[in-house]
């Protein structure tokens, strides 16, 4: 690109992104440092999360959304249980580096170390839920927005392997308790998957039995 036009292009691009966020009721975050401080405090005190979730996949080729529902459970350190109950059964348990995936037909167990992509996706989700994703500035370009209900953190992947399937991720943090309320994963094609968490129970006792991989 011509050097004269480069700054103009950048300003235009930033303006378009800002306008887009403003149109969604979001504006640039005023106190980013304060938000990061509060998020770190929440992250440090976080022991567990239990929640229902609703997943909506929006595809440009499809008028209807593909909706699935289930439960999510996280316990420090490194225990995750994703359970899809509707309209199909699908279970993912992550117990540190061990993974169990169970669908209606088969149970699959493997070590996450052997599956680089799965590890990356898992790290991303865990980091999002814990709020620790902000410490990975070398992997994502991070920008901050807010509205009356949420703080929003937009992550644009910088690594080639992540760029292949993620265009950007928007994390919606609840203003009241700084927990993640929504994760919006936008694919390079523009299709997106929005996961909304409801009925969150934070730091309630969670038994380890939920994460047993047999």
């Amino acid at each position: 690109m011509n050097r004269t036009f480069r700054p103009i292009f950048l300003i235009a691009a930033v303006s378009i992104i800002s306008l887009h966020c403003m149109a969604g009721g979001f504006k640039e975050m005023r106190d980013t440092a304060g938000f990061i401080q509060q998020l770190n405090a929440m992250t440090n005190s976080l022991k567990s999360i239990e929640s229902d979730f609703k997943q909506e996949k929006n595809m440009t080729m499809l008028e209807e959304k593909i909706i699935s529902k289930g439960t999510f459970c996280f316990k420090k350190p490194g225990l995750i249980r994703w359970q899809y109950n509707e309209p199909y059964k699908y279970l993912v348990i992550i117990n540190n580096s061990k993974v169990l995936i169970k669908d209606e037909n088969k149970t699959n167990k493997f070590d996450m170390k052997s599956n680089k992509i799965f590890r990356k996706v898992n790290d991303l989700l865990t980091d999002c839920m814990q709020g620790t994703v902000l410490s990975k500035r070398t992997e994502y370009r991070v920008s901050f927005f807010e509205n009356e209900s949420f703080f929003i953190v937009k992550l644009i992947p910088l690594t080639k392997s992540m760029k292949e399937f993620i265009g950007n991720i928007q994390l919606y943090f609840d203003r009241k308790d700084y927990s993640v309320s929504r994760i919006d994963m936008v694919e390079p094609s523009g299709d997106n998957t929005l996961i909304s968490f409801k009925n969150k129970k934070i730091n309630q006792p969670v038994t380890n039995e939920k994460f047993i991989i047999k």
């Binding site: 499809l62 209807e64 593909i66 909706i67 899809y84 669908d103 996706v121 094609s189």
Partner: protein, 213 residues
């Protein structure tokens, strides 16, 4: 030399017995009714169908969601994604044309893509010269069987006699069965179960309809 000759003859006999010799006893005749009768997976009434998918490939298992979407009269899209929403591949079929709109690096293998392409082409009934179908009759068979030829390969479509719904599709070479696809309809007449079995490579695909779209 004698031993070599006899073992060669034996080998040829074994080869012949393993072939789709079954079809050699069929009576083959031209029939232009296939185009009118065949009832593909994506029917006029259902513009999009969502399936839970299980793929067993070379000892590994991948699960996800298969979305079949009829875009217009000639174009159909097939999207395979993970349950968590990540798209693995997005293929577009338009007559004989095939377009890869998106494909995850792990699936970007020429052989794998051409295998998926052929499997999906059979299910979608796209890109075939339907007018060139031949009717295949065998005295013991009660099903209607139609055969399409493409190069050195054949595609056999087994239709239920009264409803004309497709029950089975077979892809064969001159001698061997390569792929068998079994289709099962639900009460609404939609294909609720699709099983794809490969005979030459360790690849099985099972699709179970998710009744929602």
């Amino acid at each position: 030399m004698r031993n070599l000759l006899s073992s060669s003859i034996f080998f040829i006999i074994i080869l012949c017995s393993c072939s789709v010799v079954h079809y050699n006893r069929f009576h083959i005749s031209k029939d232009d009714g296939f185009e009118k009768r065949i009832d593909p997976v994506i029917q006029n009434g259902a513009s999009a169908l969502l399936y839970k998918a299980g793929i067993r490939i070379y000892g590994k298992y991948v699960s996800g969601l298969f979305l079949f979407k009829k875009m217009n009269d000639t174009t159909q899209r097939v999207v395979f994604s993970s349950e968590t929403g990540i798209t693995f591949f997005d293929f577009e079929f338009s007559g004989k044309d095939f377009n890869i709109r998106q494909c995850f690096e792990k699936f970007r293998n020429k052989t794998l893509i051409s295998t998926f392409r052929k499997d999906l082409k059979m299910i979608l009934m796209t890109g075939f010269h339907l007018a060139g179908a031949e009717s295949v009759k065998y005295k013991k068979e009660e099903q209607m069987i139609y055969r399409l030829r493409e190069g050195k390969e054949y595609f056999y479509f087994y239709l239920e006699e009264h409803t004309c719904s497709c029950l089975k599709i077979e892809n064969t070479s001159r001698c061997f069965k390569k792929v068998i696809i079994l289709l099962k309809k639900n009460a609404s007449g939609v294909n609720s179960q699709i099983s794809i079995r490969h005979k030459k490579i360790p690849l099985d695909i099972d699709l179970q309809l998710i009744p929602r779209i």
